[in-house]
Symmetry: D3
Subunit: 132 residues, 6 copies
């Protein structure tokens, strides 16, 4: 099994609902350093998992829908906590949607899985992994 | 599959028995930067894998039983080499015990797996992974 | 010249005023990984620059006044942009105040300088440095 | 499941064939920071996955066949693109060959898998994983 | 004194002349992770050292003149070894030229110094520092 | 001003005397990731600060006198605490001695300064800096 990972980041504001979050119930924010991993059993004719240039553009596009925003004000997140885990899932789902729509090229239709990791600090990170 | 990882560290002294260890047969020591990863198929009602605050406290408690000690003097390690691999296993077992005892909260009873990685330097690390 | 550095972090929300900031004029947030460096020409009788335990507590105390907050709502920042550069200065000033007040111990009165670096992502960071 | 990872690096020149590579079709180069992970269900009598000293020497030997070279001039790569993904596979195959030949010791014959990751920059890396 | 640092990277091929370089006398290559630090005694009216967006564009422009090339073929380097140290100097000089030409904005004319660090691997890096 | 830095590491056991050290008064240990920085106003005829190969060997030689040992048993440290700060100084002094003795080559006699940083964990490090 092969994989390729690219790194980018977003900076957002949000608050989290629930006593378990303690002071993070207040409006605060985070830089998420985002690692998107694309998995594939074999390589394409060029010898790659996915075109890194296109993958980087697609990841940037997905992140730009979220970045420099207060997620508490985004209608799409009205019914959920925007925890690091949930945001990893949201980003993975959006990358999967775009891959299926062809944004990563024809070869990317043969991707076997996606892993998205969000680093919220030097001591904590969360991941979501799914087949494609 | 979701996961959350938290990082902490310990500093210990020990020696390793066996010719394979060369100069590490002498009493020496290590800083282990410890990454504890908690895995779970779904998220709880708050949108998390595990309460990071509680998980950090539990990890700190497990590590404080080991840190600032000469492991050669600890009765529990009398019959084993305290290699990085073995210590990763010991820490994972102790985290699993505490999770089962409820220290991570009720939701944590639904954890599917644990992965513990100990970084012994910038060029070497070891992991132990187990289901829960 | 000797120095000791300790690392901690904060997560905050804020917005920045001025066209130069582009989308960062919107309410967003950041994780700042904070490195506080204490400088001293010589060591004390124990062979240290500063008690790392005390320094960590003082840094944590200074950061806890800022963390998990929307800095736009804090009166003390009403007249300034809370840029990474300015926050590095604010944290350094507060560490200096506490050092002068004795929170780092008597020996810390001999500190020669302070350097505070805030990492806002894996590709950008800012520092403020001053003598003591 | 246990694993041990060791890190080393190589510096090579190469070019990549195919429009997808854009400017990387020109002769350029890369530092690959190489992480070799050895996996094993149980530990040996010494409490280790593999002798880190021997594993480091074997990895260094494999890398020295590639390093400080223009891979475009190497006959073995005449029919392939030396992408990060392909080089991860080549290094893993060569490590597997040497493990099977006994270079990692008798115990290493019980290794269950290999994972090789090549970091080509701070924002991109690729991996190849295989059973043994 | 304040500073802001931004990180980017380039991938180049080259060879080095002189017995001291051993196998690096052969054509090989490197990824340089480049940190450009801008220093300034005070902040501008917006509370910044330099506009990070503009500085990132300028750094990218300077690096794009070097990246994905065989530096042995570049006329400008015909009379010198393109060591990590020399490339750090070249990049710093070009950033200084662009700063003086106004590419970083009017405020950047008050910059006091520049530091450029090139990381050639996880175990070696070089820097060049100069006043402005 | 130019500089070149190389990274290596040591693993040692020791204890620290003095109430300020709390649990670190017990015998424990540390991995120190050691960064040795060589500074020089100009480059030599080859375009380098120092031969990285020789500098790496010299650093390794200095570290091998300390590594895989219990520093409490070393006569040379009988009268001092082997704090991270003191060890940074010891390593810098020994590098300076070897540079003066010609171990880094003739060109290295023009070095202007040395900086040694010891990382004791992901959240704490200490440095010692001196002219040459």
């Amino acid at each position: 099994m092969f994989s390729v990972t690219i790194r980018d980041h977003i900076m957002i504001a949000h608050s989290l609902s629930g006593e378990v979050f303690g002071p993070a119930q207040r409006l605060h924010g985070a830089t998420y350093v985002v690692d998107a991993t694309f998995r594939r059993a074999g390589l394409d004719a060029d010898g790659i998992v996915v075109d890194i240039g296109r993958a980087s553009e697609v990841l940037r596009a997905v992140l730009s829908e979220l970045g420099y925003r207060n997620l508490d004000d985004e209608a799409e997140f009205a019914d959920m906590n925007t925890t690091t885990e949930e945001l990893a899932r949201v980003i993975a789902e959006r990358l999967a949607d775009r891959a299926r729509a062809g944004a990563l090229g024809e070869g990317a239709r043969e991707l076997d899985g996606l892993l998205v990791t969000l680093h919220e600090s030097h001591v904590a990170w969360a991941s979501y992994e799914r087949p494609l």
